[in-house]
Amino acid sequence: MTTTESFADEASAAPNTPIVLLEDIGKSYGNINALRGVSLSVRQGEITCVLGDNGAGKSTLIKIIAGLHDYTSGRMSVNGEERHFGSPREALDSGIATVYQDLALAPLMSVWRNFFLGNEITKGPFRQLDAAKMKRIAQEELTKMGISIPNLEQPVGKLSGGQRQCVAIARAIHFGAKVLILDEPTAALGVNQSGVVLKYVVRARDAGIGVIFITHNPHHAYLVGNHFVVLKLGRVALDTHRSEITLEQLTTEMAGGSELEALSHELRSVNPELVVENESQRQEDT
């Protein structure tokens, strides 16, 4: 388990410097400190998994990197330059794309319109949409990612959850994302679809993109992650490289370690059969 100092050393020693580097980042809303002293680095071709239970500060962290919120203490640098993002557009222009849990796709709009939303290709003096070109590129990009959506006129709302994730990821990659933030991409998906999405996450990494993979599923994280950061109550509880941890350790750490032990002890003392008996007795009494 490395400390933040040694993590920073490791980062500077690595051949590729981090694209995004957070140092001692904090975010407070009035008297509530949602994040305290969080350090994180994202490098090209690496998947950094951020794990944590509900309310651990994962969402706040990505909102800071994605430009939806500003941080209140510490330092965030992108390509070695200190940055405070005022809007998601600024983050996008710096090459940081976010695929949100709710996907940021308009459900009633067609696939190709969603794919190019905010980055439409126009032609001619009247800046008319080049629909044919956009459809062609969208089809190519989706095929490249191995996603087959035969009818691009189909509204996005008609696609499956996994397909929608893939469209959102393919879109982020096509528009030159250097850093891709994935906010719980597998949370709402079944086993098969999760597998498909994880495959695209790996493809994005192989394409040289720095991936931040937010999840509360240690199994999914361990399948693809290079680096793991566990958040707990707004602080970093664990910051380690894949070679230094096993899946069991990660799961235990994620579930709260000692807290889980206490919980299992507590649950063991409950005799389930006793409950059933009581229930049946009560029914006989009435």
Partner: protein
């Protein structure tokens, strides 16, 4: 949106090509087109004067009076909002132009220009207040509806001492402005009011903007999912405020038509209730009340249905009292037909 791509390289054999019929049926305006055809045939049979070519101009004129405003109201609805102040805003614009030109004894064109600025400002205010407060557009524009309704009457009485604006028909620039906003010409024996030409032009331009430009894509997106649109860099605030300003612009245009067709006089109590007719036209035309889906052409067909029914009832010799009841039934039918057609088309 006219063609569908099915590249053979990536074809998925689970999905068969959609037939032309299915693709046609999935267009938002199809329900209103079918409705318009049914109503046309119905009145051609039931009302003999409906068949006379001369009356076509009158029917189109009735449709255009609603149709011009249905253009921005449809766009606004696709953008996820609606504007209850649209009806009285038309009157406000007409009154402003008339009163300003008369009271300051200036050229009519200056009054027209001041009215344009005010109409755009009202639209911008609606949009700004909506985005600033995050209140639903129903509440914000209900507020502006009452404000404008009250101001229309109060300011008119204050300025002219009556409930109508002073006539400006003998003032400089009146005839020129009238030629633009409220003239008419003969086309093969049919009298065509100029607003019909404007209406068709506005529908064509707005339909092109909606389907074939970046702005149009953004309108669909802010109505479909504003948070999603913002996250990919669409300027949601600007788009919504712009849409309300478009309503302002067309309210100005309709207000000028009103002013110049009535020989330079506008009644200050006019326009109340018109906002619902614009909304009905848009909804009948397939615009989704919750935003993100719809068509400008549909809104125009909705206005055409309105014009045909309004005059059809008269031509058939029925009591015009029935008209409103008929309109309500039309609205419900159109909404249900749109829903059924949409579900059917998507299920194919």
């Amino acid at each position: 949106m006219a063609s569908t791509i099915t590249s053979p390289a990536s074809a998925d054999d689970r999905v068969s090509a959609r037939s032309l019929g299915a693709r046609l049926l999935s267009r938002p305006e199809i329900g209103s087109l079918v409705g318009a055809a049914v109503i046309l045939v119905f009145f051609l049979i039931a009302a003999p004067p409906f068949r006379e070519i001369n009356n076509t101009g009158t029917i189109l004129y009735q449709a255009a009076l609603i149709g011009v405003m249905a253009v921005p109201v449809s766009l606004l609805m696709i953008g996820g909002e609606f504007d209850l102040s649209a009806g009285v805003a038309v009157t406000t614009s007409g009154l402003t132009a008339g009163l300003f030109a008369y009271q300051f004894s200036v050229n009519v064109w200056l009054g027209v220009f001041v009215a344009l600025l005010l109409s755009l400002a009202i639209g911008a205010f609606n949009g700004w207040l909506l985005m600033r407060t995050g209140l639903p557009s129903f509440l914000v524009t209900l507020g502006t509806f009452f404000i404008l309704q009250g101001l229309n009457i109060a300011v008119t009485r204050l300025a002219s001492g009556a409930v109508a604006s002073n006539s400006i028909s003998d003032m400089d620039g009146f005839n020129g402005a009238k030629a633009i906003f409220a003239s008419e010409f003969k086309l093969g024996g049919v009298t065509i009011k100029i607003i019909i030409v404007w209406w068709i032009a506005f529908v064509a331009i707005a339909a092109w903007v909606l389907l074939r430009t970046q702005i149009g894509n953004w309108i669909f997106a802010v109505g479909g999912d504003a948070a999603a649109a913002r996250a990919v860099g669409v300027p949601v605030r600007k788009v919504k405020i712009g849409l309300f300003m478009a309503v302002g612009f067309f309210a100005w245009f309709t207000g000028m038509q009103l002013l110049f067709v009535q020989n330079g006089v506008v009644q200050s109590g006019e326009g109340v209730g018109k906002e619902f007719l614009y909304i009905i036209a848009a909804v009948v035309g397939g615009c989704l009340l919750t935003g993100g889906y719809g068509s400008v052409v549909g809104g125009a067909v909705g206005a055409l249905i309105f014009g045909m029914v309004q005059l059809g009832v008269v031509y058939a010799g029925w009591n015009p009292d029935w008209f409103k009841a008929f309109l309500g039934v039309m609205l419900l039918l159109a909404t249900i037909v749109n829903l059924v057609v949409k579900n059917r088309a998507e299920a194919r």
